[in-house]
Amino acid sequence: MYSEKVMDHFTNPRNVGEIENADGIGQVGNAKCGDIMKVYLKIENDIIVDVKFKTFGCGAAVATSSMATELIKGKTLDEASKITNKAVTEALGGLPPVKMHCSVLAEEAVIAAIDDYKKKMGMDVPDTRCSGCCGKCGDTRTE
């Protein structure tokens, strides 16, 4: 089902944990959907110097969380904001079609954490960003 890379990130997820006094925290998803991801950011000079996550979810959710945090670590906020579910999945060598929505969760959690930081800093944050399932559950339920 899952590729070796996915299984590696699931079995040995990178960056699991919390950051005390994190500069930005984002949580998306909900227990109803079966997937929750929470991201903690430590930011210095607009650079993500540390990132941790906690995820309640399936193998793909854990693996994408792990990969997404790896991808943004050391990046500027601008670079990190451009993270896409496509990039996360590609870095993992693909996901089964029914699991694609999990990669969206990781993208959204990262963005939510960045937004949280920006809000705290008094910066402008577009309202249109969603958090939670964004209807993705329903989308894939028809598979």
Binding site: Y2, M7, F10, T11, P13, V16, G17, E18, Q27, A31, K32, C33, G34, D35, I36, M37, K38, F53, K54, T55, F56, G57, C58, G59, A60, A61, V62, V98, K99, H101, C137, G138, T140, R141, E143
Partner: protein, 394 residues
């Protein structure tokens, strides 16, 4: 199979027992005649499938002419439900089932509802998964023609009071079907004592082969054929018979009935040991299903703050093969309809683990399972934002 595998998913399927396989073997390559043929090779096959039918009938307390072979438990369910509902639709188009049936039953009713204009009443269950006979009584109307209630649930193992339920239907003259796919081989099932009209079974759930099932149809029950064609199965289910398959099913059923008590005791011991140890060692655990009215080999736990698929994958890496009602394991995004029906929240339903023991499992395996589970649940909780939140708030 790989040395290290501990198989704990006997409700999903079972291996074919060596004795069963031996019984099937010559019918692939040596005695291969078509049972419809009149020459000796054909008559030999015919005789063998009729002996298999008689064997199965004997185990179930039925008459051989009341047993029809099918290609799966799902086909048996489909045929039973569509076949009787459609045959009796002039009498009425109201049918009754429960919210915790297997998809093979639920989707057959969906078909009746969506394609054939039937009205379906879904009986609820209590928090242990039991149907209340009073609910059935109230649900039956003058235009009700069929009730279908599963014998034992595949996820939580709850056993329904089928005799009581069937009697209610009988009194009102309504046909009663029970999907006994999970019950057969685990508990003694006798169609006459139960007083049911239709009963489905599937060989691969009791150490028989995959791809063969049967439907008991009480003499005189009016129903349409489902698969049309040749004159097999007394013209009610067409298609060249799966000769090795039905022979395997009969052999497996006989073995099951011969060893039922020992098997039950064995499973019961393993289940009790497992339940006790888990409750003792792992916090925030919920045992699903009824404590008394349950299949002896079924244990269904929900581990809070943990998602089922992750749990399964980690167990798999330790060689343990088990199942979950988590949405993620099914391809849909909703957790098991059964777990929701007994009142679990989505979160808790997502964290379910189904262990179904079988004949070869040992107490050592149970202990290994508990050790492994404790470790994995702890690991997963450590990375669970739900657990983090819970700890902060308590």
């Amino acid at each position: 199979m790989d040395k290290g595998i501990i198989y704990l998913d006997h409700a999903a399927t079972t291996y074919v027992k060596p004795e069963v396989f031996e019984a099937m073997k010559p019918w692939f390559t040596e005695y291969y005649g078509n049972p419809s043929a009149i020459y000796s090779l054909g008559r030999q096959s015919k005789k063998a499938i009729e002996e298999a039918r008689a064997q199965i009938a004997y185990c179930l307390g039925a008459h051989p002419t009341e047993i029809f072979f099918t290609g799966s438990g799902t086909e048996a369910d489909n045929w039973a439900i569509k076949g009787t509902a459609l045959a009796n639709q002039k009498k009425g188009k109201h049918v009754i089932t429960t919210v915790i049936e297997h998809h093979a039953v639920l989707e057959a009713f969906d078909f009746l509802r969506k394609e054939e204009g039937f009205e379906v009443t879904y009986l609820p269950v209590n928090e242990n998964g039991l149907v209340n006979p009073e609910d059935l009584k109230k649900a039956i109307r003058p235009d009700t023609t069929l009730v279908s209630i599963m014998y034992a649930n595949n996820e939580i193992g709850t056993i329904q009071p089928i005799h009581e339920l069937a009697s209610i239907a009988r009194e009102k003259g309504v046909v009663f079907h029970t999907d006994s796919v999970q019950a057969i081989g685990n508990i003694a099932v006798n169609v006459k004592e139960l007083d049911v009209d239709l009963l489905s079974l599937s060989a691969h759930k009791f150490y028989g082969p995959k791809g063969v099932g049967a439907l008991y149809v009480r003499k005189g029950i009016k129903m349409e054929s489902f698969i049309h064609g040749g004159a097999q199965e007394r013209k009610r289910r067409a298609g060249t018979e799966n000769v090795p398959g039905v022979i395997g099913m009969a052999a497996a059923l006989k073995l099951a009935y011969d060893n039922l008590e020992d098997y039950n005791n064995h499973l019961g011991k393993l289940s009790s040991r497992f339940i006790e140890k888990v409750l003792e060692r792992i916090p925030y655990v919920h045992l699903n299903g009824d404590r008394e009215q349950r299949l002896p080999g079924n244990v269904n736990f929900s581990f809070r703050f943990v998602e089922g698929e992750s749990l399964l994958l980690m167990l798999d890496m330790k060689g343990i093969q088990a199942s979950s009602g988590s949405a993620c394991t099914s391809g849909s995004l909703d957790p098991s309809h059964v777990l929701l029906a007994i009142g679990l929240s989505h979160e808790i339903a997502h964290g379910s683990l189904r262990i179904t023991f079988g004949e070869k499992n040992t107490e050592e395996e149970v202990d290994y399972l508990v050790d492994t589970l404790e470790e994995i649940v702890e690991k997963l909780r450590k990375m669970s934002p739900l657990y983090e939140e819970f700890v902060k708030n308590h």
